[in-house]
Point group: C2
Chain length 131, copies 2
DNA sequence: GTTACCGCTTTCCTCCAGGTAAGTTGCATC
DNA sequence: GATGCAACTTACCTGGAGGAAAGCGGTAAC
């Protein structure tokens, strides 16, 4: 099979799918901008499953430090992904809870998780072949 | 509405959904590990749309530098997300192309892009309210 | 009154993703 | 033979993400 490759590729800015591509590209970059960092989605997932306290979250997400978790929680609250509820028990009980809006991320999280699972399988497979 | 919050929350390790949660958490973290960085998914999206040359990619993904793009491309090739094809024209033509495997990311990319679009709308909305 | 827990905060430090700018190699065109 | 492009590479630098560890203010149990 021979493939002819033109010497000069004309940059066709007006291609319709080029515009569509640029659009979804921008959308993706916007999404990645809010969901940046190692832990943001993990915290959201954790709280979408059920409301929790600080220590419980830290315990569940192995590896996250108190400092980082505190920062992420503040950030997520500012962006309306979670709410921080203080109950007047003694001592005060603080429960973090996912908002309606964070639940719009459910399909994305499901997709990510599914892909991650399948990817791990693929890696394991390729490891076996190498041995 | 009064909510009674128990003073001590017993950490129930044996809850079934706690395990399921830990599972999808791990899956997600695995996925995020391979897809890390600002540009990886953007490059994949770009190449899933159509095969392209180095300069075309750099032109389409505004803001990415030659150095970073080169690094990402190497990385993505190593992980079997794209292939680098050299055609013996003169001078050589190099075309990057998405692999079968990278196309397994299509639903994820679609989800991300859709969410990003909807998120931008939400932000614009809340901006209008503030003014 | 001392010890422990909860929900953080503070300090300090390290690492590296990623940006800038300039250089390089091999053609090819003028 | 000078200029230019394509595809990178190299060298240098910086911000900020994120880790480790200790501290802190209030409460409460012993």
């Amino acid at each position: 099979m021979t493939i002819f490759v033109p010497m000069k590729v004309i940059r066709n800015e007006s291609l319709p799918d080029s515009k569509a591509c640029a659009g979804s590209l921008r959308n993706m970059l916007d999404a990645l901008y809010v969901l940046n960092g190692k832990w943001k989605l993990a915290v959201i997932l954790c709280l979408v499953q059920s409301s929790k306290r600080f220590n419980e979250i830290q315990h569940e997400i192995t590896g996250i430090s108190a400092k980082v978790l505190a920062k992420e929680l503040k950030d997520l609250e500012l962006n309306d992904f979670i709410s921080r509820n203080v109950y007047p028990t003694s001592p005060e009980t603080i429960i973090y809870e996912s908002t309606e809006y964070s639940r719009t991320l459910k399909p994305l999280i499901a997709e990510l998780s599914a892909w991650g699972a399948q990817h791990r399988e693929k890696i394991k497979e390729s490891m076996r072949k190498k041995l």
